[in-house]
């Protein structure tokens, strides 16, 4: 009897939950929420229905002995599964993207450490050895027994990102720095990133000279964007790039920012502060 009563409650609340969910989806659609948010609202409605079903659920019978143990184990399996599934269902950041960034960022830094220098020398010695062996093999195959001193050109990797950069690709390297230093998290550019934490920079090349841009990066308190007084006062732009970036990386970033001259985007006027 109680069971039947509860079954009716479950059906009633589920139907009500679905109806509320449909209303929410329709309203969300009319107010331009994307489909993923419409699904989210429907899930909230069903969560509400589930909560109200629980509130009216009849008392649970006591579990004893092995039944209690099995009940507990099952319960753990269910909540573990739900948590893993929930976390897996959410959008995932692709680690490969970050790995690529980290590789670029840390390569130059590692090369400048003592260990990095040793590793570089070892790699060069190994490459030389392999070349010499290959030449010796070739000579042996040709039947030559003469001692030949081979001039081996070993291509070594650049120890810094700009050591091989021409002025043309300095801008490209600067754009790479924009990505690597994650400037996009605060500044909007080309319509992407930002969220009002910092000014959009599409027209900064028309408003600041390269030297002024460099000043701002090295000392964020030196300039303030008009309309960003609060952010300036709070020191929202981190004063760390002078420590974290190599001079050639800053050169590249400055070169890139100096090319941004899109007058159609409203980049706030910079004000000299220090």
């Amino acid at each position: 009897m109680v069971q039947n009563g509860f079954a009716r409650v479950v059906v009633k609340k589920l139907v009500f939950g679905v109806l509320v969910g449909i209303v929410l989806v329709v309203v969300a659609k009319l107010t331009h929420f994307p489909p993923v948010f419409q699904v989210m609202f429907f899930i909230y409605a069903m969560l509400g229905a589930f909560v109200f079903i629980l509130l009216d659920a009849p008392s649970m019978k006591r579990l004893e002995g092995s039944k209690a143990v099995v009940g507990l184990i099952l319960f753990y399996v269910i909540i573990s599964g739900v948590y893993i599934a929930g976390a897996t269902w959410l959008p995932q950041y692709d680690p490969e993207v970050e790995k690529g960034k980290i590789e670029k960022l840390l390569k130059a830094r590692r090369a400048r450490t003592k260990q990095g220098k040793v590793e570089e020398l070892l790699a060069r010695a190994k490459a030389l050895d392999e070349k010499a062996q290959a030449i010796a093999k070739q000579l042996a195959a040709l039947g030559g027994g003469a001692k030949v001193v081979a001039k081996v050109k070993v291509e070594t990797e650049a120890s810094s990102p700009t050591s091989s950069a021409t002025s043309g690709d300095l801008v490209a390297l600067g754009r790479e720095q924009w990505e690597l230093q994650e400037c996009y998290n605060c500044h909007k550019l080309f319509g992407q990133g930002g969220k009002k934490r910092g000014p959009a920079l599409d027209n900064i090349g028309n408003l600041m000279t390269p030297e002024q841009i460099r000043q701002k990066i090295l000392n964020p308190k030196s300039w303030m964007a008009e309309g960003f007084e609060k952010a300036y006062k709070k020191g929202k732009m981190p004063n760390k790039y002078k420590d974290l970036m190599f001079p050639e990386e800053i050169d590249a970033l400055v070169a890139f920012l100096s090319t941004l001259k899109d007058t159609s985007v409203n980049t706030p006027r910079p004000i000299k502060m220090q």
Binding site: P34, E64, Y76, G86, M237
Partner: protein, 561 residues
């Protein structure tokens, strides 16, 4: 002679080839260190949180002359003593694994905090061990007139425990927020010349201390609830069930009481992290870690739902609960709270005084206005209030969990995945703060109702709906899972650094793992911790089950001593 010996040892080491690099099997080094560190933190959190719980309980028993509290305190301490060795074991393992897998960094850190690692921390740990064992083994000898001395011992234990936590938090917080360099000096130069205190008292040190302290009390309360649930399920008599039902209630009460402060402690920590370096904020909330926070929102919501559901189940068995009513103005305030506070905090961000005035009015006005003649009869039943409360908990959860975009990083956001611009406020901090405050406020209202119900009605301990025991288990499991998640987040905010902005991690594993990958490990760690704790409960309490429980099995007025 000594120099000769040292010289010959040096020569011997020079001839011996370098040991092979250590590689943690299957998981790799970074995950390996994470597993060991997280397990250590879970055990450490318990042995720091449980004694706070125990001494408060012991003091309540002493003050109210209620032996139930004393028994509760002793049982929790018994489990703590067993788990203390696990804390030491995992702590030692943590250092071994760190030294083997990240030798350069570990040595660097130890050298910077040499006094802490070589002297202060070991001395505190030894002192804590001595006081903990003394506290436990003098339980029966220091009773009666000597009880106050025993409680003082418990207070001393907690003081040492808290100090230990604060001391070890120094290097931990330093890894996230190393001291800021003085004007004109690079961070590297500054750290080389900085004193120990400069490094300890960094930006996130005190917020981390407070966050962990409150978190540990929450944890202790929920684990006490877990112990009670296990023991209730295995109880053979009504007396035992009665006692463990009551113990579950107390554990949940203390766990939830501390939980109410936890979101604000979390905000404080996040605030200081962002104040140290504003780029940490978007990294956490809008970049690689944004979905970790989405998951955190879901977990906090579930914990609040479950703790309020436990109150609901507890109230259902109180005879006379239907007579308890509350002003309808409270219902109105609760329904309006997310919108009113969201708007207020947008216009006057905290700590601006105007926002505090509105908040105070919203909380104080309903009970004050309900005394007015015309509004005195505008009341609703406790069950109606709680049902409205549950509805608003779902609404507050929905607000808390609404992200700016369903993307792992905002750089990938497109119109199809973002909130429409008119609703973007839903994803900002004022809305999140309002949602968090609504959850906290509702839980307080529910406890007020519960308190009224047990004062006016009759409670029968031991007769609670059996489902409540699963709720207690769920709360402990979810609290541990959330701790694991947020522990991962705190570590991951360092990005590819061992010490943020100072010491890069050059290994191939220094990237942010996916949330899905992290969830598997967090669940695994929670289960391992659960298995050990369950074992500790079984061998300490089930094996030596009390022979003469004190609690009454028959109905008694809820307020009776």
């Amino acid at each position: 002679m000594g120099l000769l010996v040292l010289g010959s040892i040096g020569a011997v080491y020079a001839q011996v080839p370098e040991p092979p690099p250590s590689e943690f099997p299957y998981t790799g080094n970074r995950t390996g260190v994470w597993i060991v560190a997280q397990l250590h933190i879970l055990f450490a959190a318990f042995i720091l949180g449980a004694p706070i719980f125990a001494v408060v309980s012991e003091w309540l028993g002493y003050r109210n002359r209620d032996p139930k509290y004393d028994r509760l305190a002793k049982e929790v301490t018994k489990v703590t003593v067993i788990l203390y060795s696990m804390t030491a074991l995992t702590g030692g393992l943590f250092i071994f694994v760190l030294l083997a897998t990240y030798p350069d960094f570990t040595t660097w850190l130890i050298k910077h905090f040499f006094l802490v690692f070589a002297l202060i921390y070991p001395v505190l740990f030894i002192a804590e061990t001595i006081v903990l064992y003394t506290y436990f083994y003098t339980w029966d000898s220091l009773k009666g007139e000597k009880k106050a001395r025993h409680i003082a011992l418990g207070v001393l234990l907690n003081l040492i425990g808290t100090l230990t936590l604060f001391v070890i938090d120094g290097p931990t917080a330093f890894m996230n927020t190393p001291a800021k360099s003085a004007e004109g000096i690079s961070l590297v130069e500054f750290i080389q010349s900085a004193g120990l205190w400069d490094k300890m008292a960094n930006y996130s040190w005190m917020p981390l201390n407070l966050h962990r302290l409150v978190g540990n009390v929450t944890f202790g309360g929920f684990i006490a609830g877990l112990i009670a649930a296990y023991m209730y399920m295995g109880a053979k008599s009504d007396e035992e069930r009665s006692y463990y039902d009551w113990m579950g209630f107390v554990g949940n009460l203390i766990g939830v009481g501390a939980l109410l402060l936890l979101p604000f402690m979390g905000y404080l920590l996040a605030y200081e992290l962002c104040d140290y370096d504003a780029s940490i904020c978007p990294y956490m909330m809008a970049d690689q870690l944004s979905m970790f926070f989405e998951m955190q929102g879901a977990m906090v919501g579930l914990i609040f739902l479950a703790s309020n559901y436990y109150i609901w189940l507890s109230m259902k068995r109180i005879e006379g609960v239907e007579r308890v009513r509350i002003s309808g103005l409270v219902v109105v305030a609760v329904i309006g709270m997310p919108a009113i506070m969201g708007f207020t905090w947008k216009v006057f961000p905290p700590p601006e005084w105007q926002s505090l005035i509105v908040l105070a009015l919203l909380v104080i006005l309903p009970p004050v206005l309900s005394k007015l003649p015309g509004l005195r009869n505008f009341t609703v039943s406790s069950f109606t209030m709680i049902k409205v409360g549950f509805f608003m908990i779902v609404v507050a959860n929905a607000i808390w969990m609404t992200p700016h975009g369903f993307v792992a990083t905002q750089a990938l956001a497109t119109e199809e995945l973002e909130l429409p611009s008119w609703a973007s406020e839903l994803a900002l901090m004022p809305a999140k703060n309002a949602a968090a405050f609504t959850l906290v406020f509702l839980t307080v209202v529910n406890y007020i109702l519960y308190n009224r119900a047990i004062r006016r009605g009759t409670i029968i301990w031991g007769k609670i709906d059996f489902a409540s025991q699963f709720v207690l288990v769920f709360l402990a499991f979810s609290a541990i899972w959330t701790m694991g998640l947020m522990g991962a987040v705190r570590s991951l905010t360092r990005k590819y650094y061992h010490v943020y902005n100072l010491l890069p991690d050059f290994t191939a594993e220094s990237y942010t793992p996916t949330l899905a990958y992290s969830a598997w490990w967090i669940t695994g760690l929670t289960l391992i911790f659960y298995i050990v704790v369950s074992f500790a409960i079984l061998i300490t309490l089930r094996a030596s089950e009390a022979k003469s429980p004190v609690a009454p099995g028959a109905p008694v007025p809820a307020g009776a001593e």
